[in-house]
Symmetry: C2
Subunit: 321 residues, 2 copies
């Protein structure tokens, strides 16, 4: 009988639930609107009933465990702690809450960037690579480091806060209260901030000036760059320089074989990667120059997050055996 | 019969050779003057005869392997590559050269910072810790990261170049050709550079002004700081600020439980650590504040390097079994 893992991706807007086999084949998938649940207990309850319904529909499968990727999810204590973009505040004992609905199944939780790294390691093009990094460029910047073939969780489960390395003293104010954090420049949010700043001071013509500022999205800048729009290109150039500076320092510390960009801003693809590689060559220590590949994820965008969450189950069960 | 490892520490000035048991007990120790050997082949030959002589003197022991810590030593290819402070240039196939003298023994090589981390992990106060970092503040700055209980070598064996993370764009010129590398400020060499710069611009009285500039050593600044010398304290303050900035970024990425300072400048102890902790509190992301210990090594200073090199043998043999 097919061995199956439940992979759950909890996001600020949607929560996706998938049933996947060991090869990453999606047997069933559904979703909930995260914001609809005022209480975490209501959310967990709805999620659990959704899972039980899907189990009934699937019939004969062996569920081996439940894996959850969520912002600020901590594998060591099974809690989500102070995640900025989900409706429930404080410390949420997710694994404990889930286990009351599924007492016979192991439940694992980690943050979304680590889940993404596990997905890449298990099902992506980097399968078999023992040292690589996934950098998520979304609302914030997250990162999942694979070191010696395992996720680097750090002593407290909180490693991978690349987005909160300071890359410019007294730089942009960050949501964390400090200044100059990497994510204030290279997250999708930071990128839009740059776009608005550049729009204000740019006197020339630009496709971006035809869009109401409040409607601007990262994608608009990509489309403008596609058309060689000078302003759009300079916004990517600025962002790439900041990203490259940060990645060069990351490379000096962990020496990964590959860096995979993921999430909102990564969809800009070559518009972001080409100038990043060029600046990376300036910033990188000689011994690492030209060695590190920078790519976007090759996983199916629609399933990437649940693939990662399901991979967490296989990875953790392998450790226990 | 006692199981024994040979631990070799190759430095720019001296090379130390020790025979140590699994508990880190030193059974025998000797040394060579590194600079006396014009050719690497002469050096390896002298080192090998030294080892063979010691084996004869020790009598009944089971030598399990040879571990070498050396600047730029790479565990993956067994070579020293372009190390700045040893007499021989280019790529030196150390393990291969050694193996011709000891065909029946496994020979392992890594860089001195990784060896230091292995020494701490096996014989130091952090024994049992799975996530910590050793930062060596010597002629340059090296670092050895322990992640999930193993050294992080990176995909090419060259991880841990913390000294070459850029902490100030367009900052001090580094030996690597780039600007603003961490080691230009926080190595013993960088510290002396700061001392000389501060001496030039400081109009007040200072104990440091009584020492000829060319004779100044980091230790002199420590002694002056001990006497509450204003200039000396401000030199430590500047250095601590740079160190803390760098360590805060390191913590955000790898989340270690402890950071152990090692080598020349670490001997300044509290003069360096106290202001570093204070700046670290400013620079560190909230979730990590107050969690990470900063200490100096607790290993016996005279044996630390050969302890680390011998630990490499036990660590690698354990992996193979």
């Amino acid at each position: 009988m097919n061995k199956v893992a439940v992979g759950i991706d909890i996001g600020g807007t949607n929560t996706f639930i998938g049933f996947l086999d060991e090869n990453g084949k999606v047997l069933s998938k559904s979703h909930l609107i995260t914001q609809e649940y005022r209480l975490i207990s209501d959310f967990i309850s709805a999620l659990s009933f959704n899972i039980k319904d899907q189990i009934k529909l699937l019939g004969q499968v062996n569920i081996e465990g439940i894996g959850i990727g969520a912002p600020n999810g901590n594998i060591l204590n099974g809690c989500i702690e102070n995640a900025p973009n989900i409706p429930w505040k404080g410390r949420l004992p997710l694994v404990k809450l889930f286990s009351s609905f599924f007492p016979d199944l192991p439940v694992f939780l980690t943050n979304d960037a680590n889940a993404a790294a596990l997905g890449e390691m298990s099902f992506g093009k980097v399968k078999g690579l023992k040292d690589f990094v996934v950098v998520t460029l979304g609302t914030g910047v997250g990162s999942g480091f694979v070191v010696n073939g395992e996720i680097m969780y750090g002593h407290d489960g909180l490693a991978g806060e690349l987005g909160h390395t300071i890359i410019e003293e007294n730089g942009r104010l960050c949501g964390c209260g400090r200044k100059g954090c990497m994510e204030t420049y290279t997250s999708a949010t930071g990128f839009l901030k740059t776009t608005k700043e550049y729009l204000k001071s740019f006197a020339g013509k630009s496709l971006l000036k035809q869009i109401p500022v409040t409607d601007l999205m990262a994608e608009d800048v990509s489309i403008a760059a596609e058309n060689q729009d000078e302003l759009a290109l300079s916004i990517f150039d600025f962002t790439a320089k900041k990203l490259a500076f940060s990645l060069a320092n990351l490379i000096a510390i962990t020496s990964p074989k590959e860096i995979i960009l993921y999430g909102g801003l990564a969809n800009a693809g070559d518009h972001l990667i080409r100038p990043t590689l060029s600046y990376l060559d300036d910033y990188t220590l000689n011994v690492f120059k030209g060695k590190v590949k920078i790519n976007t994820s090759t996983l199916n965008n629609n399933h990437a997050a649940i693939l990662g969450a399901s991979a967490l189950v296989w990875q953790e069960l392998k450790k226990k055996n």
